[in-house]
Each structure stands twice: as C-alpha cells, then as structure tokens.
Amino acid sequence: MTMLKIEGLHASVAGNEILKGVDLTVNAGEIHAIMGPNGSGKSTLAHVLCGRDGYEVTQGSVTYLDEDILEMSPEDRACRGIFLGFQYPVEIPGVSNTYFLKAALNALRTYRGEEELDAVDFLGLVKAKAKLLQLDNDLLSRGVNVGFSGGEKKRNEIFQMAVLEPRLAVLDETDSGLDIDALKVVANGVNKLRAPDRSTIIVTHYQRLLDYIVPDFVHVLQDGRIVKSGDKNLAHELEAKGYSWVATAGNS
C-alpha cells in the first residue's frame, strides 16, 4: 500500500525556490531516511508535508493515502495521521504538557469518530509512554517544553508521537544535538512504533542515528532534488565520503 506519494514537488519560501522537483514514494511499513547537507531543503520538505504557513507549493503534488493533502490545514493532516517531529520544538508557557497532549489526542479521536479518553485512561496511557521515553513525570506537568533541556525536548517529541500513534511520522533532525544515551532512547521510541501499517521519514544530517534505526531506503537531497537513493549502505558511504561525492557521482 502506498502511504505517501510526492511528485515533481516545487516549493518556495519568501519567493526563493527551495524544492525544485522532489519525487518520493513511501509505502506502508517503510522507514525512509532523507539526508543532505545544510540548506538542501530537508526541513522545507518536512514543513511542506505538514502544512506550515509561509511555504508555497508552486508545482507538483503530494498524495497521502490516496488523498491530495496540499490544500489541507495542518490540523486536518494531523487528524489523518501525519505527525511532524520538530527540529526546534516550541515552548508554550501556561499550557501543561499533559493538557496539551490530551487536547491533541482527543482531537484525533474525535476526528476518527472515537470517544474521548477520560482522565484516568489518559493518565494511564501517558505514564506508560513516558516510561518508554524515560521522561520524568515532573516534565509532564510543566508547560509544554518550558525549561526542558535540548535532549528532553527531542524526547518529548517522540513521546508525543508515541501517544498520538501516527500513520506517517516525519522526524525533522530529531537526532541533532543528542548525546548517545538520549539518541538510543529516541531510536527505541521510533522502533517501538514500527508496524506494517505505519511509515516514518527521518530527516537527518548525521548517519549515526541510522545505526539505531535501520532504514529501508536512504535518499540524498541536494539543492532541492533527490539526487541519489539507495539502501542503508548509502548512508555509510556518505559518512565515509561526504556529500560532495554524491554531486560528482551523479544519480547513478
């Protein structure tokens, strides 16, 4: 089953074309890694998939579970099962992590025609998932990401993903800046969610994460296009030879 199909996608930010014809097909159950140098358009692709304002799609199409999603609001995409793990998670003082997550989960459940979870069931779910991500219970009652360390913020992203159980997760540099222990925790969280009916796109700058989350496909994004695709071995090759090697080698 095709989860996501991106065809000839062009997108601009403030009049500058960043994506210049991206093609990518992600089937259910697959993990795809998108690698590339800084400024190649990795984060833009992640944001376009999730519908952030300010990213203008000028050409091409994005189909998710046979639906064109480009005209959908971010919340509609989220309700259909798309999740974005942020490179820079936002702090929201005054809204507790728990309240935020409950509002989000119940929005998704309402969309799917399910009953909202009551406080007891919700708390049970949250505690189990927090344990998986080794998140301190104190952090749950604090404002969203307020006073969290960099590593805690990233773990909180994966924690939210674990609670919301998306069909398609797009993780935007979730590994950047993590120490090896935090990286293992994050990878474990992603691996736990691996299932035949779910897919993950991991946007990353570093090959290291892929030692812990083994991707089915690795793509190199450069200057707004996918210039090379391969299996997990491509990541090792990139690590050894650098991105400039791809440019000279071409898409063979």
Partner: protein, 451 residues
C-alpha cells in the same frame, strides 16, 4: 455639549459636604482631613485629559456630576451570596454602594484580637488606631478623585491585625456597586498590619444591576516590620460602569506585600497603585491582568518608591485587548538617593487580538543611586505563529489553539493568586470575557496549566 467638571466649583458632589460633616458625630476629628481634601478638589479641579497622568484615560466620558448619591437599599441575601465566589471559605464582608452591611457580613468577633469591620465604626471606637494612618498614606496630589473620596467618605472597611497575629482565613470584602441607580460610591479601605502579622485580603468589586454607576475607591495599607499582606483585587463591574481605584501601601522593614489586580469588566477602569518601601528588607510584588474588549478602557498606573537600601520590587502586568479596547500601563520605579542594593523588575506584556485594539505602555525609571539592579520591559504582539503551528500540527484546530494560547497568557498571572477558590472565580470571569467558546469547560476547573 456637556459641561465637564474642570474646576472644583463645578463638582456637584461637594454640595453634600456640609451634610456629610453634620452626620460625623464622634468621627468629627476627621474634619481637617476632609476640608483639606475638599479644598484640593476645589482648587485643582478633577483630572482632565490635559493632565499628564490622565492623558490616555478617556476621562472625558466620565462626568462626575452625572451621578447621584447612593440611597440605602435592602439587598436580597441569596442574590448577594450568589455574587461571591464558590467555596471561598473566607470571612465575608459586604458593602453596598460603599456602606458596610453587618446583616450580610460574618461576625467579626471570631477574628479578635484583630479588628475587622466598618470604617465608620472605627472612626468612633478606635480613633487611636485609625488617626495615624487615615489619609496619611495616600498622596492625592495628582489624583483629585482620591481627594474627593477623602472629603466625602462616609464608611468603608477597617482592618487592624495586632502584632504577631496571623489571620488564617482570607478576608473577602465585597463592594457591590450600582445598587441604587446611577450613583457615585466612595469605598474606602484602611488596613493596618502590626509587626509580624499576616493576612490575606480579597477586594472584590461587583456590579448589582446594569446601571452606569461610578465606583471611586481608595485603599490605604500600612505594613509594620515583618508584616505580610497578600492582597487580591478584582473588578467585575457592570458594563459601562466607571471604576477608579487608588491604592497606596507603606512598608516598614522586612515587610512583604503581594498585590494581584484583575480588571475584567466595566466601561472605564483606572487603577493607581503606589508602594513605598520605607524599611530595609521590604519587598513588594505587584501583578495585574487586564482583559478588555469592545470599547472598554483600562488604565493601570503604578509607582514603586524605593526609599532605602536592600528593598526589592517586582511588577508583572499583562493585557489582553480585543475589539476596540484600549489599555494603558504606566509604571514608575523610583530609587531614592543612596538607596543601594535595590532589585526592581518591571514587565508589561500585551496581547492584541484585534486590529482596533490600542495599547499605550509607559515604563519609567528614576534612579538616584548607583548600586542597583533595575530592569523594565514591554512587549506588544499577536499570538505566536510558531506556537500556533506547533499545536495545529498535533491536531488541535486553529480556533482552539488560539483560545488555549490566549488563556495560557492570562493564566500565568492568575497562578500567583494565593487562594485557590479566588483563583478559580477569577479564572471563570476571565474565561467569560475571552472569546473562548470552542474550549472545553473543564479548562477552568482544571486550569490549562494543571491538567
């Protein structure tokens, strides 16, 4: 064109001066203070927009001569109780148009040795406790409305907490306005806290009907050494009502004063707060939340006077303005010559929800010492687009996300309110005032910050 009261002779309310004086009885010793205040009003006139301190308050719409003197009315106890916050478990004191209502209030006997009750009674029975403070703390030089209160005030609240006494239950002073028509009421509060005493005062202004009345209140607070007062003040006046509140607090060494003010309803609201830190180790925290929409105007003027070394102050005011509302914050921090080792912070953050809303913020520092830490900051803006996208990317619809962020902005100020039931009552008033219809009702019960 309406005649506006730009000079004293035009202040019709002063016509009552002789009647008020004649009714003083044993409280006649207050006469010199009243005469001086009357003369001040006559000479200076009431403020107009030409006065710097009243520049942004659209005082033109307030014609003091449009209001009559309140007449005594009997209010239904059940309805009065309904106006009070649920499960407050406080000592209730009810005032109708400024007059103390013993039959609607709890008996003060249980609070002995503290004295809590009618100011009129205290003028007569406790002159030795009242005279050193009444009209001695608040300076009405730039505020002729406060002088008008002093000259004509007939009753109010007197709180005296003796040395070392701790009042466990909060005092809830409920000032009901507009009970007898379009009147001007003159609530007056005097709080005297002796050394190492402690109390919590909830000052609650609420409208009875939908009259366009005028509340002109004055609060004076004296904190002796090491005394601690937590003071929550909220105004939930009727639509179109005028509310002027003038507060002055004088603090001796090591005393602690925390005042949280909430303006959530009313036509024109103007609050002046002055804290004088007169003893080392004294600390003062002022915070405030304004929620205004339509054509409301809310103006907060604060002034913190650091008179001696080692005194601290924090101010944190937030405004949420919608419709064509207008907000004013003018905050002055004054550090006297050679008052060293001062830590003074001032913050004013404002959220504008509509194009028609206006905010004027005027932070001012006057520092005459060199070893001090003073900061002030003001921000003005709309909801944060990154926060909005973050919430929406999790499935929360845009409207709910906006509401949550708006409420969260308000809730940080409300979290400082020390009495939970009062916090819940204020939260519910704020909730009613914000355009939050898409929000779940458990938001208020649980608080966004405490799910």
């Amino acid at each position: 064109m309406n005649r506006s009261a730009t000079n004293g002779s035009a202040v019709a309310a002063l016509d009552r001066f002789a009647d008020v004086v004649n009714s003083l009885g044993e409280a006649r010793w207050t006469l010199p203070a009243r005469e001086a205040a009357r003369d001040h009003v006559m000479n200076k006139g009431l403020p107009t927009p030409r006065d710097e301190a009243w520049r942004f308050a659209n005082i033109r719409s307030l014609d003091p001569n449009a209001f009559t003197t309140p007449t005594a009315v009997q209010l239904d106890r059940g309805r009065v109780d309904e106006l009070a916050p649920r499960e407050l478990h406080a000592h209730q004191l009810v005032f109708v148009d400024g007059r103390f209502q013993p039959e609607l209030s709890a008996s003060a006997a249980v609070l002995a040795p503290a004295i809590v009750g009618s100011l009129r009674q205290a003028w007569q029975d406790h002159r030795e406790l009242v005279e050193p403070y009444f009209d001695r703390i608040l300076n009405y030089h730039d505020n002729a409305y406060a002088a008008l209160n002093t000259s004509l005030v007939e009753d109010g609240l007197f709180v005296y907490v003796p040395r070392g006494v701790v009042l466990d239950r909060p005092l809830h002073a409920m000032f009901i306005g507009g009970a007898s028509g379009e009147t001007m009421s003159l609530p007056r509060i005097l709080v005297v806290m002796e050394e190492s005493s402690q109390a919590t005062l909830l000052e609650d202004y609420v409208g009875w009907g939908e009259h366009r009345y005028f509340t002109n209140a004055v609060t004076e607070v004296q904190l002796r050494a090491n005394a601690n007062l937590r003071h929550v003040r909220w105004s939930h006046e009727s639509e179109g009502a005028f509310h002027l509140g003038s507060l002055a607090c004088r603090q001796d060494r090591d005393s602690h004063y925390a005042a949280h003010s909430f303006a959530v309803r009313g036509g024109l609201t103007r609050n002046d707060a002055v804290a004088e830190l007169a003893g080392t180790g004294a600390e003062c925290q002022l915070s405030g939340l304004v929620v205004a929409g339509e054509n409301q105007l809310v103006d907060n003027h604060t002034e913190i006077r650091h008179l001696v070394s080692h005194t601290n102050s924090q101010q944190h005011y937030r405004y949420i303005l919608d419709g064509r509302a207008r907000g004013v914050f003018a905050g002055m921090v004054h550090v006297a010559p050679d008052a060293q080792k001062i830590d003074a912070q001032q913050n004013n953050e404002n959220l504008l929800l509509s194009d028609g809303a206006t905010m004027n913020t005027i932070p001012q520092l006057e520092i005459y010492a060199d070893d001090v830490k003073c900061s002030h900051g003001a921000t003005l803006g709309q909801l944060d687009s990154a926060q909005l996208f973050y919430m929406r990317s999790r499935g929360i619809d845009e409207k709910t996300a906006r509401n949550l962020l708006t409420y969260a902005f308000a809730s940080e100020i409300m979290e400082a309110v020390p009495v939970l039931a009062a916090r819940a009552a204020i939260a519910s008033m704020v909730f009613d005032q914000l355009p939050l219809d898409a929000l779940e009702t458990d938001l208020v019960r649980e608080g966004v910050g405490h799910a």
